[in-house]
């Protein structure tokens, strides 16, 4: 696809030979990108919001004195603001604010670990496929086809229904159903790059296959991968909430926004606010990572505001886990 070419070519350092041993670099792609990124108000606000959530999640105990799983039936269904319960308590007397904070931990952990896992697996498969080509490539690409042909939400439901709803299974199945786009991307980059001169050069000076892969080639694909990863963070958080809604996601006493939303649904008629908080959190975080992803994309390739490919990827990663 044309888009692949455009994106990746934007990432390739202008002077290829320098990649082997640079003397003095012109401002690198990272720095240029960061400069542009900083000027993008959406991207920056996304970054700030995400950071706030990350900090809240990571240092949750500093922000609340309550244990999110602590049940105290004497203090159930308190109104917001009573007894230092910032947002009140739920039907089991758990502090809602504390649950939101600790949920940020789980939801973000799901988002980032799925993104990281998919990037690792996708990169591995994509680079092996792209570097070696031939039979190995064919095998992996058919695998990608297979994965892309099964409705992914169905596959998630199927696996969790069969093997049980454990946290690690959920992470695993989410990773196993979202590595394909990265693999395609990395493979595409590799196919182009391996023909290029500096790879030939590296080969000539006797750098090993693996050295070539990881030192020279990977670097060129890192930006699109990061952009892709931001999408997967958002998609994973949404998938988690969807699976929790279907009863196959996070299980108590753990807590996540998706689970809170599901619980709150039962009290929709009595206390609708309970379902608003986690819903808004999900919305904000997913918006934030999307803005960041867009920002990165823009900073790389300002002409292509919303590239087709990116929308396509959005569509793919989101629709399947959402509707």
């Amino acid at each position: 696809m044309s888009e692949a070419n455009m994106q990746t070519s934007a990432v390739i350092p202008p002077v290829d030979v320098q990649a082997v041993k640079p003397l003095k670099r012109p401002p690198g792609p990272w720095r240029t990108a960061w400069t542009k990124f900083r000027r993008n108000p959406y991207a920056m606000s996304g970054l700030v919001v995400l950071l706030i959530f990350v900090i809240c999640g990571a240092f949750a105990p500093w922000f609340t004195k309550y244990d999110p799983a602590k049940i105290d039936l004497m203090f159930a269904n308190l109104k917001a603001g009573t007894d230092g319960h910032l947002l009140g308590t739920d039907e089991m007397g758990r502090d809602i604010f504390a649950r939101l904070l600790y949920s940020a931990r789980i939801s973000l952990a799901v988002g980032f670990s799925v993104a990281a896992g998919s990037v690792i697996i996708g990169t591995l498969i994509g680079s092996i496929s792209g570097y070696f080509g031939g039979f190995i490539d064919t095998c992996f690409m058919r695998l990608v086809d297979v994965m892309n042909s099964i409705p992914l939400l169905f596959l998630n439901i199927l696996v969790l229904a069969i093997f049980g709803t454990e946290f690690r299974y959920m992470i695993m199945v989410l990773i196993l159903t979202s590595w394909m786009s990265v693999a395609r991307l990395v493979r595409g980059t590799f196919l182009q790059l391996r023909e290029m001169q500096y790879v030939e050069a590296a080969r000539a000076i006797g750098v090993s296959n693996f050295g070539i892969i990881f030192r020279h080639l990977l670097r060129n694909a890192s930006f699109p991968i990061i952009v892709n990863a931001t999408l997967m963070v958002g998609a994973a958080i949404l998938s988690e909430s969807a699976l929790s809604y279907l009863g196959l996601g996070i299980q108590a006493p753990q807590t996540s926004w998706g689970l809170m939303l599901t619980n709150a649904r039962e009290f929709m008629l009595v206390d609708p606010l309970q379902s608003v908080y986690p819903g808004v959190c999900i919305l904000l975080v997913v918006l934030a990572v999307n803005f960041i992803g867009d920002g990165i994309q823009d900073s790389l390739n300002p002409r292509q505001k919303m590239s087709e490919r990116r929308i396509d990827r959005w569509r793919k990663s989101f629709l399947k886990s959402k509707i």
Partner: protein, 323 residues
């Protein structure tokens, strides 16, 4: 063209075959296998043996697989474990219902999205464009089921304007007006999810085309702007949109597990969720396979359509859709 078609078809068949292996393997990897799951405890060993034999579960796995595959090829999806009802009888009615829901949502999306996106392409950063952007971001980031629940609360419970769930009121089965009323809420939810991609897609596609040399030439030659857009640009801009449309076709059948569950819509997505809960693995296998077939056919059609509308596409070269 023929060669391309044949090759793509063969590829699709291979992928399908792999999918049958994956689904069958998954289900038989379940702890204890499917057999143990579906029999009530308390049955005498003899009764279990008889049942296992009746269901062909006492044969070795490869035999079971071949048997299942053979039946599939004859269009026999098998029987449900629990009550021995032909699976086709369970699935087919839901296909129609899903098709109605998704078809309406999808048509509505196209009707709104394509003109809007094209309009926005000439009015970058206008209020309309910003609104579209906003809706896209929200549409992507909002957990769909949450949105559905909120709509239900407002329009069905509080205001009592619209039906809460289901496809027909109990005594109005088959009445078009009643169906329409029931469609409004789920279609709204789905349209919001779809809309984002299509508006953005048609907008960016149009913009890309407007940026092309031949359009610039036309403009330079003094062709009226309206004519430039509608005569020269539109056709080319629609090509990628059509591809996406074709790629989305499978969604029309695969259904929306979450939306259908929230609105109790008797479609395939809801059926899948119900059957996952009931551990009717044979139905899950059938649905997964069926949707995979449709996805693959959809992809095939997308490729062919692309080839038809854009003769410049070099057939037979995968990923060769470069402009």
């Amino acid at each position: 063209m023929t060669e391309f078609f044949i090759r793509r078809t063969l590829q699709s068949v291979l992928v399908l075959f792999l999918i049958t292996l994956v689904t069958f393997g998954l289900i038989h990897a379940a702890p204890g296998g499917p057999f143990q799951m579906m029999l009530a405890p308390g049955l005498s060993p003899e009764a279990m043996k008889v049942q296992a034999h009746n269901m062909g579960l006492d044969q070795p796995l490869p035999m079971q697989y071949l048997h299942w595959l053979g039946n599939l090829l004859q269009g026999d999806l098998g029987y449900t474990f629990k009550n021995h009802v032909p699976i086709g009888q369970v699935i087919w009615p839901t296909v129609k219902n899903t098709f109605i829901l998704m078809g309406v949502a999808w048509l509505l999306t196209l009707i709104i999205a394509i003109p809007w996106g094209i309009y926005n392409s000439t009015k970058e950063y206008s209020l309309s464009d910003q609104t579209a952007s906003f809706i896209s971001y929200i549409g992507f980031a909002m957990p769909t089921f949450w949105f559905g629940i909120i709509l239900q609360q407002i329009f069905s419970i509080k205001l009592d304007w619209l039906p809460l769930a289901d496809m027909y009121a109990m005594d109005k089965e088959g009445q078009l007006g009643d169906l329409m009323m029931h469609l409004i809420l789920p279609v709204t939810v789905l349209t919001l999810s779809f809309l984002a991609a299509y508006v953005k897609y048609s907008r960016s596609s149009m913009m890309e085309v407007l940026d092309k040399d031949y359009i610039r030439t036309a403009r330079a030659k003094g062709v009226r702007e309206g004519k430039v857009i509608y005569k020269h640009a539109l056709r080319n801009a629609l090509i990628p949109v059509i591809t996406i449309v074709a790629l989305d076709l499978p969604l029309l059948v695969a259904g929306a597990a979450l939306t259908e569950s929230v609105f109790n819509w008797p479609g395939m997505g809801r059926l899948f969720v119900q059957m996952a809960v009931a551990r009717e693995y044979s139905v899950l296998m059938a649905i997964t396979l069926l949707t995979a077939v449709i996805v693959i056919i959809g992809n095939l059609i997308a490729d062919l359509l692309y080839a038809v509308v854009d003769p410049r596409v070099q057939l037979g070269k995968r990923g060769g859709r470069s402009a």
